[in-house]
């Protein structure tokens, strides 16, 4: 099986737009016998690509799939909008990544929408199709809102792991992660801070949530009936799902998170999230740094003591070519 790799850069790449990439490379990966990788950005830089982006009409499978990932050295390091000195972002005033009937992996990307009544990342239809979202920052950068930051509505796999989901819009009914219909739903080590409506929501029982913190919502931080194996989740209110829930998490700077008022959602030592996770999951956090054992709840590993901020430590210790998790 061949792996076809294309590059998306502001200068010197195969493509300068995710929309032109998709329209050109759209193919039947199964009959081609290929998988396809789009590497986004330039090592050591922050690059943002704007476009109403849809992926559909491809033929894919679990092995003949599509991967969209930040190129090595252009990961966001857990800090939005180039705050760590680098990053690869898709931005839209409409759908930022609207996927229909494709098997796909999205890694280390930043996905932002500022659209009214549109979803950020959406995976729709297609029997058995699989979507894996790993170490991404997803959310809204403005005050427009409505719909979902991440929506799964496919009978296959919908997986979100080690992601930061932020929606501070003032519009009503903006949910964080919504598993509308999935065969298998995975929600692990995510941090969800959504102002309006629900943080993490499911309408079926095939979703397993572990080590996820959701808070700040005007309705409920969690909604729906999750798989019985769900465990070690946290909320600001009393709605955290599964066994061993942690409730009453607060957004006050320095209590449970380092400085959420400025976007630093890393956990505070001895706070409610420190070491409170289930160690059946873990791996690398949103910045590619290994979670501790027992792991933290949320998408950030607790930094070693020493007085530096989490983003600074990550920037200094992350090796550009560190292998990334693949499913």
């Amino acid at each position: 099986m061949a792996v076809v790799t294309k590059t998306l850069k502001t200068s010197g790449g195969d493509y300068s737009s995710q929309v032109t990439w998709e329209s050109t490379e759209q193919t039947n990966l199964v009959t081609d016998g290929d998988s396809h990788i789009l590497e986004v950005g330039t090592s050591g830089s922050f690059e943002s690509f704007t476009g109403n982006f849809t992926i559909s009409g491809w033929t894919t499978s679990a092995t003949n799939n599509i991967t969209i990932r930040a190129v090595a050295g252009a990961e966001h390091n857990g800090v939005p909008q180039g705050g760590s000195g680098q990053g690869s972002r898709f931005y839209s005033t409409n759908y930022v990544c609207n996927m229909s009937a494709v098997d796909i992996v999205i890694e280390d990307m930043e996905m932002e929408t500022n659209g009214a009544s549109v979803t950020g990342i959406r995976h729709l239809s297609g029997s058995g199709k699989e979507a894996y979202i790993e170490r991404c920052i997803v959310g809204r950068s403005g005050t427009n809102g409505g719909e979902y930051s991440i929506l799964f509505s496919s009978s296959g796999v919908g997986s979100v792991r080690n992601c930061l989901v932020i929606d501070h819009s003032t519009a009503a009914k903006s949910d964080g992660i919504y598993y509308e219909a999935v065969g298998t739903g995975v929600c692990e080590n995510n941090t969800v801070n959504v102002n309006n409506n629900y943080g993490v929501k499911t309408t079926n029982t095939n979703v397993t949530a572990k080590n996820v913190v959701s808070l700040g919502d005007t309705t409920n931080d969690w909604s729906g009936t999750f798989n019985a194996s769900s465990t070690n989740n946290a909320s600001g209110d009393s709605t955290a799902k599964g066994s061993s829930p942690v409730t009453g998490v607060v957004l006050t700077d320095g209590t449970d998170f380092t400085e959420p008022s400025t976007g630093d959602y890393s956990p505070v030592a001895s706070g409610a999230l420190d070491g409170a996770g289930d160690n059946s999951v873990g791996g690398n956090d949103i910045a590619g740094v290994a979670h501790n054992d027992p792991p933290e709840i949320g998408c950030y590993a607790l930094a070693a003591a020493g007085g530096l901020s989490i983003p600074q430590i990550i920037a200094m210790t992350r090796k550009p070519n560190t292998p990334l998790i693949t499913m």
């Binding site: 300068s16 109403n52 309408t203």
Partner: protein
């Protein structure tokens, strides 16, 4: 001057609403944009069409997807049982993007998934309208209508509503894949699918 990129060839994938077709306007950029290696005319993937008297914002209309644009009204009711009519102005004169029985049935399934208590069921349809029965109290009617409109808006016919005509594609092919002109000059080679 904005530059619009049009597909040179129809992609070799199974026919579907998501399939990119020759002549469709994929994206637009400013004329100082640095194109990727696969985006320049020489690569054979795109024709470049410059519009000398329009802004980038003004040509965004040619990037519009061909989806439905629904309006939903209540036709009648008996208590909470209501008959709703959905109308779309995105059906062409010859019936392209027309509602079908299968399409309406599929939409009803999705509405019932999103809003199980609605118990939506099929009543009738024409090319540009359909009627469904729903059960919803007046206080939640607008919420249900929004869900219906969102689902209808997702029903796609083609990636783009506008396209370059065959005559325009031939002209572009004979001129190195790049032309520019005023909007009036280019208009003869641009076609609104709704007129088909």
């Amino acid at each position: 001057m904005p530059i619009m990129l049009a597909k040179v060839n129809t992609n070799n994938v199974p026919d579907s609403a998501g399939r990119w077709r020759a002549g469709e306007i994929v994206q637009a950029f400013t004329d100082d944009h640095e194109f990727g290696n696969a985006e320049v005319p020489e690569a054979g993937n795109f024709y470049h069409v410059g519009i000398t008297d329009k802004t980038l914002e003004e040509v965004q209309t040619y990037l519009q997807g061909w989806n439905h644009n629904p309006t939903t009204t209540q036709v009648s009711n008996q208590g909470n049982n209501r008959l709703l009519e959905v109308t779309s102005d995105m059906v062409s004169a010859t019936g392209k993007n027309a509602f079908t029985q299968a399409g309406v049935d599929s939409l009803i399934t999705r509405v019932n998934t999103d809003y199980p208590t609605a118990d939506a069921s099929y009543d009738s349809h024409t090319n540009s309208t359909f009627r469904i029965n729903v059960t919803v109290p007046i206080g939640n009617r607008d919420e249900l209508i929004k869900i219906i409109n969102d689902e209808v808006r997702d029903m796609q016919y083609a990636r783009r509503r506008w396209y370059i005509t065959q005559a325009g594609m031939t002209f572009l092919g004979n001129n190195g894949g790049t032309v520019s002109g005023t909007a009036a000059q280019v208009a003869g080679y641009l076609r609104d699918g709704l007129l088909d």
